[in-house]
C-alpha cells in the first residue's frame, strides 16, 4: 500500500493506492499546512481503507507543506505530481492546467507521459483562485454562487485590469453603475481565463487539455477558459485529488526502485 499526501495552504488531501495501482481510499480536509489537517487527512484515508499505518510501504508528500511533513519518505513538487496524476486519470492528457488557490500552473506532457515543460504564476493574485475569492466577497456570495451567477450572464462586461486592486475598483464601479451581478461574475471569470490563457501561450498548449485542482470544479471557469483558449478542456475526475494521486503513484515507483536496489 502506498500513500500520497498533498498539503496545500488551505487544504490537505490523502490518497491510498494498492500494488495494482487501484485507488483504495481518498480524503480531503479543509485545513492545510501548519495545522493538523495533513494528519487528519491521512487518518481518514487509512480508516476508509481499513489499514494501519504500518501497512503503508512508502509515503510521498507534495504541495506547499511537503517540506515540513515529517512522515514522508520523500517529497516531490506538485508540478510533477499533477503531471503524473493527470496522465494516470486521463492518459491522453498532453497539457495540464491547474488553477490553484495561490498559483496557476500549466504543465506540458510528452507522449511517454513525462513532463516536458512547465510555467507557473505565483507572484500575482490575478489568474488564481484567490482572485475569485476576493471578487466573490465583493459580490457578497460564495464561490459556488459566483459560478452560478456567471452561468446566467446575458451581457458581456470586461474587467480588464491585471492588478487585483484595480480590478476590485472596476467591479465596484460596475455594480454602482447598475450592472447585473451575473454579468459582473462572468467578467470576473473571463479575467482569470485571460490571465491563464496568457500563461498557457508562453509554453504552448497541445490537446488533450485537462484541468486539475479545486478551481476545476467551477464549471463556469472551465467553460470560460475553454472559450478563451478556443480548445476543448476536460476535467479530470476528482480534480482536487490529482496531486495526492500523483504523489501516491510516485510512492509506488520509489518503493519499487528501492526494492530493485536492495536486490542487486
Amino acid at each position: 500500500m502506498f500513500l500520497g499526501v498533498d498539503i496545500g495552504s488551505s487544504s490537505s488531501k490523502a490518497v491510498v493506492l494498492d500494488e495494482k495501482q487501484q485507488i483504495i481510499a481518498t480524503a480531503v480536509i479543509n485545513t492545510g499546512t501548519g495545522t493538523h489537517g495533513p494528519e487528519k487527512a491521512v487518518m481518514a484515508a487509512l480508516l476508509q481503507a481499513k489499514l494501519g499505518a504500518t501497512e503503508i510501504k512508502f509515503t510521498v508528500a507534495t504541495g506547499y507543506g511537503r517540506i515540513t511533513y515529517e512522515k514522508a519518505d520523500k517529497q516531490v513538487t506538485e508540478i510533477s505530481c499533477h503531471g503524473k496524476g493527470a496522465t494516470f486519470l486521463a492518459p491522453q492528457a498532453r497539457t495540464v492546467i491547474d488553477i490553484g488557490g495561490q498559483d496557476a500552473k500549466i504543465i506540458r506532457i510528452d507522449d511517454t507521459g513525462k513532463i516536458e515543460n512547465f510555467v507557473m504564476n505565483d507572484k500575482c493574485a490575478a489568474g488564481t483562485g484567490r482572485f475569485l475569492e476576493v471578487m466573490a466577497r465583493i459580490l457578497d456570495c460564495k464561490i459556488g454562487e459566483l459560478s452560478a451567477f456567471a452561468r446566467n450572464s446575458t451581457q458581456e462586461i470586461s474587467i480588464s485590469s491585471i492588478c487585483t486592486v484595480f480590478a476590485e475598483s472596476e467591479v465596484i464601479s460596475q455594480l454602482a453603475a447598475g450592472a447585473a451581478k451575473e454579468d459582473v461574475a462572468q467578467g470576473v471569470h473571463q479575467s482569470v481565463a485571460k490571465r491563464v490563457a496568457g500563461l498557457a501561450n508562453r509554453i504552448g498548449i497541445r490537446p488533450d487539455i485537462v484541468m486539475t485542482g479545486g478551481v476545476a470544479l467551477n464549471d463556469s471557469m472551465v467553460a470560460t477558459l475553454s472559450q478563451e483558449l478556443k480548445q476543448n478542456i476536460a476535467v479530470v475526475p476528482f480534480p482536487q485529488l490529482v496531486g495526492a494521486v500523483g504523489a501516491a503513484l510516485y510512492a509506488a515507483e520509489f518503493y519499487r526502485k528501492q526494492l530493485v536496489k536492495t536486490l542487486l
Binding site: 506547499y64 513525462k114 513532463i115 515543460n117
Partner: protein, 377 residues
C-alpha cells in the same frame, strides 16, 4: 584539503559581509574606497588613482526610504542602492561612480544628487555605438574626464606607470578568473553553486591584488585533486545576478551545480580581455567595444543565445537557468530571443523571477525542484 577549505571559507565570508571586507581591504591596502555602480566602470583608473574600487550591487535592506524617489516597479538592485545611500551606508566612500546604461540608471543617477547629496557623485555615460571611431574617441574622453575628477579628489596626478600597472593587474585578474571558472566546473561538489557565486562576488569588495592571490592558491589546491564525479544536474546560469543566497542554497539542495555563467556580476566582468589600442585608455575603450552577449550594451547581432548554446555544449550542461531580475527591462527584452534559440537547440530552460530580497523562498524552491525532477525523468 584543510588549506583549500580555509581559503574557500575566507572568500565566502568576505562575500557575505561586504562592509567588513571593504573596511579590512581599505586598512590593509591603505586605500580609500570609491563606489562603483553596475555594470562596467573604469576600475583600472580608480585603482591607479590610489583608490579601492568597490562594487555597489544592491543589498538586503528593507525598502523604506527609496520609495520617496522610486515607484515600486523599479528593479530591486537599484532601489537597494538608493536605500543604502539614503541610510548613509555609503558615506565613507570618497566618491560614487554611476555609469548609466539603462533608463533606470539614468534616473537613479539624477535622484542620487538629491537623495544622497553627501557623496561626491561622478556620473558617466558609456557609448552604445562603441565600435565606431567616434565611439572609441568619446569613451577615451570620458575616461580622461573621470581620471581628472579622481585626481582632483586624491590631490595627486595619476602617472603613466601607475595606470599601466593597474591595467595589467586587471587584465591578469580577467585571465585568471576565466581559468578559475573552467577549473571550478570540474569540482561541482567542492565548488558548489553557492560557493562558486560567493567566491566570484568577493572580488567586488577586495583589493584585486590580494584577491587574485587567493584565487590562484585555490586553483593550485584544486588541481591536486581529480575531477569530482557528480550525480546531480549541471546548469548554465544567465541573468544579472544569481541571488538571493537562498536561491543558491536551493540549487545545492536539489543537486544542481553551476558549471558556467552568463551573469552580469560574474563572467561579464572578466570574459573579455583587451586586444588592441594605443595607450591604456584606448585599450580600455576597445575592450568595451569587444564585449558581446551583454544585455546592457547594444549589439545588433544579439549573440547571447549562441553564446549560451555554446556554453551548454562545452560544459555538457543539462540545461539553462534564467535568473530574471524583476523589472530589468534590458534582460526582459533579451529573453524571448535567446529562449527561441535554446528551444531550437533542445536545451531545457528554467525561468525564475527574482528580486534581491525575497522573504519567501517557497516559490523558487518549487520551481527549481520541479526542474530537477523534470531533468531526472
Amino acid at each position: 584539503m584543510k588549506q583549500l577549505n580555509n581559503l574557500i571559507t575566507e572568500l565566502e565570508t568576505a562575500a557575505q559581509y561586504p562592509s567588513r571586507t571593504v573596511q579590512q581591504a581599505m586598512e590593509i591596502s591603505k586605500r580609500p574606497a570609491v563606489g562603483c555602480f553596475p555594470y562596467y566602470t573604469p576600475d583600472e583608473i580608480i585603482y591607479a588613482a590610489g583608490f579601492l574600487p568597490v562594487g555597489l550591487w544592491g543589498g538586503q535592506s528593507d525598502i523604506m526610504l527609496a520609495d520617496t524617489y522610486l515607484q515600486s516597479f523599479c528593479c530591486s538592485m537599484m532601489r537597494e542602492n538608493v536605500e543604502q545611500g539614503m541610510k548613509g551606508h555609503y558615506d565613507f566612500l570618497s566618491a560614487v561612480i554611476i555609469p548609466t546604461y539603462c533608463d533606470t540608471l539614468k534616473c537613479i543617477c539624477e535622484n542620487w544628487k538629491a537623495a544622497v547629496p553627501q557623496t561626491i557623485l561622478i556620473p558617466m555615460v558609456y557609448p552604445q555605438n562603441r565600435s565606431i571611431q567616434a565611439g572609441i574617441d568619446y569613451l577615451v574622453a570620458e575616461y580622461q574626464r573621470v581620471q581628472e575628477e579622481l585626481e582632483g579628489i586624491s590631490g595627486r596626478k595619476i602617472t603613466e606607470q601607475k595606470l599601466t600597472d593597474s591595467f595589467l593587474l586587471y587584465e591578469e585578474y580577467r585571465t585568471l578568473m576565466r581559468e578559475f571558472t573552467i577549473l571550478a566546473a570540474r569540482y561541482p561538489i567542492t565548488i558548489n553553486a553557492k560557493t562558486r557565486q560567493l567566491l566570484l562576488k568577493a572580488a567586488f569588495f577586495m583589493d584585486k591584488k590580494m584577491y587574485i592571490q587567493k584565487i590562484r592558491e585555490i586553483c593550485r589546491n584544486l588541481e591536486n585533486f581529480p575531477a569530482e564525479s557528480f550525480d546531480g544536474k549541471k546548469v548554465v546560469v544567465t541573468g544579472i545576478l544569481a541571488e538571493p543566497t537562498g536561491l543558491l542554497d536551493i540549487l545545492v539542495e536539489n543537486k544542481i551545480a553551476i558549471v558556467a555563467d552568463d551573469l552580469a556580476n560574474s563572467s561579464w566582468q572578466f570574459r573579455t580581455n583587451s586586444q588592441k589600442g594605443n595607450g591604456v585608455l584606448e585599450k580600455m575603450a576597445y575592450r568595451i567595444a569587444d564585449q558581446s552577449g551583454c544585455s546592457l550594451l547594444f549589439e545588433a547581432q544579439k549573440t547571447r543565445g549562441q553564446l549560451l548554446v555554446d556554453l551548454v555544449k562545452t560544459t555538457e550542461a543539462d540545461g539553462v537557468v534564467v535568473v530574471m531580475m524583476k523589472f530589468c527591462d534590458p534582460e526582459e527584452f533579451d529573453y524571448p530571443i535567446y529562449k527561441k534559440e535554446l528551444e531550437a537547440a533542445n536545451i531545457p530552460l528554467l525561468y525564475l523571477e527574482i528580486e534581491q530580497k525575497m522573504d519567501s523562498m517557497e516559490q523558487l524552491r518549487t520551481r527549481v525542484q520541479s526542474f530537477a525532477e523534470m531533468l531526472d525523468d
